[in-house]
Symmetry: C2
């Protein structure tokens, strides 16, 4: 069943059928109706390979997702897919391993599949610096800022990680916490972690204190298992902590388990804060205090920018941060009785 069959059955040429199928002008109503009738009857759908071959290949968009376990990315994917669909665009999802090279994968895809553009969910600056210029189509990066990567034509939308991390420290400080441990991605590898750590360090300085990274910072990958083991190491080394800030909700879940396994309770003995604001954070017991990244807005800005860049021909590259929110829930204990009331129910604000 190909376009020639339809043409024959409809009594028109393949050119006319093609024009009908593509909603091109210059077709009589009679022809249009007749062709559509046959198409419907036969359940015909054009071969996408042939179509894209002819139309110079640029078929769909590619979403490059770093890691399969990142629940925030799942939320973003879900929204982005809907947005692409609404714009009548196909989007194909490619998961790449957390420590694989997402840019190399994209270069390869660019060559063999000719996507219209790439939406990156997470990315390693080293990979981008090494290969980005080899990508021939518009690219947008989400959750990382590429502002300082010096790459022409790459846009990025992200949460201001340093500021958000600073807010967490401010909040903990306000609750009377001074001995705070940090568990997050390796700053050599994970740039968001590096920014968040900067925010922590600055916040400490703001409060006239110094963050002792040597003792109170423990790096790990973004998974529950890694969070668990990192917390075990941290709690072993620094047994006087009153609070732990994990650079991801999934990490925080592992940390919570570790705290519990060492015989402590959250938040009675140790307070805990996460990052991302994924669904599970509000169902854990206790509900996890965390920084909510706005997955919906991130997805929308990213998809719109990508669509615009494709339409207008690769733009300059913009870098924007989207608002975040500190969700004050139940996993942080105020050490200052007077402040207790203020620390509760804050999510409503």
């Amino acid at each position: 069943m190909d376009i020639r069959d339809i043409a024959r059955l409809a009594g028109y040429s393949v050119g006319t059928v093609s024009r009908v199928l593509n909603d091109h002008p210059g077709v009589s109503d009679r022809a249009r109706e007749r062709v559509l009738e046959v198409v419907r009857e036969m359940g015909y759908e054009p071969n996408a390979n042939a179509r894209h071959l002819k139309m110079r290949g640029r078929a769909s968009f590619a979403i490059m997702v770093k890691g399969m376990q990142n629940m925030l990315f799942n939320d973003i994917i879900e929204k982005a897919e809907g947005l692409f669909a609404a714009a009548d665009e196909e989007a194909r999802i490619h998961f790449v391993d957390e420590d694989a090279d997402e840019v190399a994968r994209a270069i390869h895809l660019d060559r063999i599949r000719h996507p219209k553009g790439f939406l990156f969910l997470g990315g390693d600056p080293n990979n981008f610096r090494a290969g980005f210029e080899q990508i021939s189509v518009p690219c947008v990066l989400l959750t990382n800022t590429a502002e300082e990567w010096g790459l022409r034509g790459l846009s990025s939308f992200s949460t201001n990680d340093a500021e958000a991390a600073g807010c967490v420290i401010d909040y903990l400080w306000e609750c009377g916490h001074r001995r705070i441990g940090i568990i997050g991605g390796d700053r050599e590898v994970s740039e968001v972690s590096s920014h968040r750590l900067d925010g922590v360090v600055c916040a400490f300085e703001r409060h006239g204190a110094t963050f002792d990274a040597e003792r109170c910072y423990e790096p790990c990958r973004f998974s529950m298992g890694d969070g668990y083991h990192a917390a075990m190491r941290l709690l072993e080394r620094a047994d006087d902590l009153t609070a732990v800030f994990a650079f991801g909700d999934v990490i925080a879940l592992g940390v919570q388990r570790a705290i519990s396994d060492r015989g402590f309770r959250v938040p009675a003995d140790i307070s805990l804060v996460g990052f991302d604001g994924v669904d599970v954070s509000q169902y854990s017991v206790p509900r996890l205090t965390t920084v909510r990244q706005d997955a919906g807005l991130l997805a929308r800005k990213g998809v719109e920018a990508l669509l615009a860049a494709v339409r207008d021909g690769g733009a300059e590259g913009v870098h924007e941060s989207v608002p975040f929110r500190l969700l004050r829930r139940e996993s942080v204990l105020s050490l200052r009785p007077a402040a207790t009331a203020g620390a509760k129910g804050g999510e409503r604000s």
Copy 2:
């Protein structure tokens, strides 16, 4: 940069270049080396659209995933992707909404993309009965059994849901629980839920009791939020339950939160069992007792069957169940002091 450029640069015809690229016999070593040299130098990669057009379209496999929030499916996808890659096959992931028609989507893809085969993660028998025969390529279904759907050419690999659910009830029974609530998918819509419920009912009968579905069964979708609300309804209606069995770990997480919000503790006041055995279940506090489905084996069997069906030309369709394991962890309290020891640390076995 197309195959003609390579041919010109290498000093051979496009036919020879194509043969080299496809590892066909009948090419001199000299030609092969020369062509590969140019290919490498130019970073050339053949246009997949053209290739597939010529090769009659069948390009890659399609993985149809029902719902984006199912963590078990995530595990299976991850394994399956690796397996396809190892077999040098491409696999494209399509997420379809939990209540959208995955078979209709597949029919559409079948027509426009001509995949080699479909791997379904989850599926609604109604959709399959309505449209399955319109799919022209081999299909394998995972996590549901299609044994009784009467569909020629569809294979399925799954956990024996009824048996597994029965084991859960047996275990709770053994721990002294009699007033057990069930929270799971709507049996009209979710066949796995219906099977699990059958298992529950049978197990009650085995123990000389009757399961009162009217009072003790509350349906919901497979998400934490739905689990939470369903549990609220159930606990409201049946306030004497000593245990709740949720038909999915994500549901169980919501249930745990609901139990806690009603002022009860798990397992001291109410015991809780999940289903699936996803990562998060072992990090929750308390660690969740659950049925572990073997995502790795499911993925392996599914991919192998699909590959074989494509190779040998659509086979008959086999239906196999894969072993499961009841992971006895911390969320179930034994009501019979003597049995306490046996109920703990069971995961090790």
